[in-house]
Point group: C2
């Protein structure tokens, strides 16, 4: 970046302001931009011209009946972003444009025991296929977001030791993927990306403080605080799965006893149903059976809900978010699990903290993480990458 505080930085800030206004509204006329950004019409005129020349923005001559308003919108082909999400059973990829539209999305199963090399090979292929399908040039890739199912040090990019994918510990997924795709890759864990996805496109729209709780083989939370993912100084915020609910409860894989996870995560819950319902049950199956009325599954899901509720109550007392979004397979259970959660929260959280809390199931299902990865790519490059593109395109070429 240039010196902050110079005029050019002001200009850049104004460019971003305009782009952001257009993005939020979808499309605006110049006069509307001027009003919503507070810039003068003259300035907007200049900025729009600059953005148009750079290809960031498209100007369509008068769509609606007015006097002669040209509507300005983000040009779809100014660049694309890619979201890649490794789950422990599948791989998901999405391609979106800078106007926050998803152009293509696909998922395929992935073996848990697959080596990281295999995984990345598959990811690379799938990305290539989707890009081809959208017909956009590879050079237009503005950024990639990557989700991994485990703790990752965002600074160094190293996958933590308690990662769920066995063969991946100690690898640096972002570097790996950058090597293959040749673009900057931003990583984060699945819970944080789920939170981001639900915030931008799902049940968290319009809310600035939310917790996304994902119950799968483990339990994790992604925290959004004042509109931004909060990772904490050490990058491990949101470990709701290991808060202690019962000091003399079951032993958890983390070495403690009675962690929230031991009452709620698939690996601990499914065995409860083995004797009655067979051994090859999945969480998804339990949810389906519960919805069909199976009393045992209903009971188990309600118990899980109560325990999650206890954890959410703690979270709520400490952080007082305005929304909690439940993700993972469990969210499919709807009121069967949300009811008990609400009940527990009502009982254990202090009323003033619980008052404005709404608890919703995720609206995106299994897509939350990929879409979050997309959002990560968009937000990490900031609107400024858009603008970098503009500037370099606007700068006369040397050739």
């Amino acid at each position: 970046m240039e010196t902050p505080g110079s005029q050019s930085s002001l200009h850049r800030a104004n460019l971003e302001r305009v782009v952001r206004a257009v993005r939020l509204a979808g499309s605006l006329t110049q006069a509307e931009i001027a009003r919503s950004t507070g810039l003068s019409a003259a300035t907007v005129s200049n900025i729009v011209r600059e953005l148009k020349d750079g290809g960031t923005v498209e100007v369509t001559p008068t769509s609606a009946g007015g006097r002669r308003a040209r509507s300005v919108s983000l040009s779809g082909d100014a660049g694309i972003v890619i979201g890649v999400d490794f789950g422990h059973t599948h791989l998901r990829v999405a391609v979106g444009n800078l106007a926050h539209q998803v152009l293509a999305e696909e998922s395929e199963p992935l073996d848990v025991d697959a080596s990281s090399t295999q995984g990345f090979d598959r990811a690379e292929q799938l990305v290539s296929r989707l890009i081809e399908a959208t017909g956009v040039d590879r050079s237009k890739i503005a950024g990639v977001g990557l989700g991994v199912p485990g703790p990752i040090d965002v600074e160094s990019g190293t996958l933590g030791s308690s990662a769920i994918l066995p063969g991946w510990i100690g690898t640096k997924p972002a570097e790996e993927l950058r090597g293959r795709l040749g673009v900057t890759v931003h990583v984060d864990n699945d819970a944080n990306l789920g939170a981001l996805g639900e915030m931008v496109w799902g049940s968290g729209r319009g809310v600035r403080d939310l917790a996304y709780i994902k119950v799968a083989s483990g339990v994790g939370a992604g925290l959004v605080i004042e509109g931004k993912i909060y990772r904490g100084p050490g990058g491990t915020a949101g470990e709701i799965g290991h808060i202690t609910l019962d000091e003399s409860g079951p032993v958890c894989r983390c070495g403690n006893r009675g962690c929230l996870e031991t009452f709620t995560a698939a690996r601990y819950v499914l065995p409860l149903l083995q004797s009655s319902h067979g051994t090859d049950l999945t969480m998804e199956g339990v949810v389906r059976l519960a919805r069909d009325g199976d009393p045992g599954c209903r009971r188990v899901i309600a118990d899980v809900g109560r325990h999650i509720g206890s954890g959410v109550a703690n979270l709520c007392n400490l952080l007082n978010p305005s929304r909690v979004v439940l993700g993972g397979d469990l969210a499919e259970a709807g009121e069967l699990v949300l009811g008990p959660i609400r009940e527990s929260v009502g009982r254990y959280a202090i009323p003033s903290a619980a008052r404005q809390l709404t608890i919703l199931p995720g609206a995106l299902g299994g897509r939350a993480e990929v879409l979050g990865a997309l959002a990560l790519a968009l937000s990490e490059m900031g609107d400024s990458t858009l603008l970098d593109g503009t500037l370099s395109a606007a700068t006369p070429a040397f050739t």
Copy 2:
């Protein structure tokens, strides 16, 4: 505010940049300002002149041995800020200047049953006395920070229902005090202000994410997240006192059972020692006895520590702060309480979250809250109030 995005807003931002740099460093030469702000020497020269003319800043000709550097520092008499802290047993007032120096500070006992009117009368008197003592003109008051020992809705300024001061429920302390002092008053609860105080002047210096835990008649926490007090959307973040440690534990005044508070707050802990140590024991007394070696008191304090540790472990898993500061009388117990806290945290928090956590006693003791109130006044007015003063002073008068 003027139109954001204009040159004048840029100028204003640069003024703030300079003021902030000077404030952080205490005093700087112009060349140092230029380096630390990234502005050019010429710009700094202009800005310093403007600030000097406005009275915000003082220029002292060469203090240290160099070539000919003039050191720039905030002028002490550009304005003063006042911090007022109502505890449930005392009233504390501090007067500081814009250079973050405390000019005067005093506390006096306050009856718990005092009406709010009495309380504010006393506060007004004490403020007046201190202002006179410092010899500064009343018109120089730039802002007042007010701390109250209970939940307060920062938006509406109304003291919540579970306030510790009985006669104060439903009052609007900030308005009350503004009426008497004639200046804007910013309120917050004691835990948040303690956090702010310790962050600016105490054990939290240099850290951007910390939790301040105050154990008194209740237990509350103030959270600082990325350098800012975090209150949560509903204003009740930090209620660590009512997270559930034991679902079948003692009944808490909040209606739940086994809240952290029931194991740690004075009102629940002191009765344990009544039969052995008499009825008129205070927390302060217990701490003193424990330091002198009394085994019963030591045991009680260690138990309290262990329970606080459990709460901190939860906090740590969720938020992963880099520092926890213990405030209130209990902090005086030093290692007697910190040891067990650390032990509990080590046991119950996940290692990766606990790794970079340091747990310290507050460095400011009972002063944390007033100083926090001072800091609140400073931060709420922002450096911009400083600048407003500058600008109006720099603008030619009409008379």
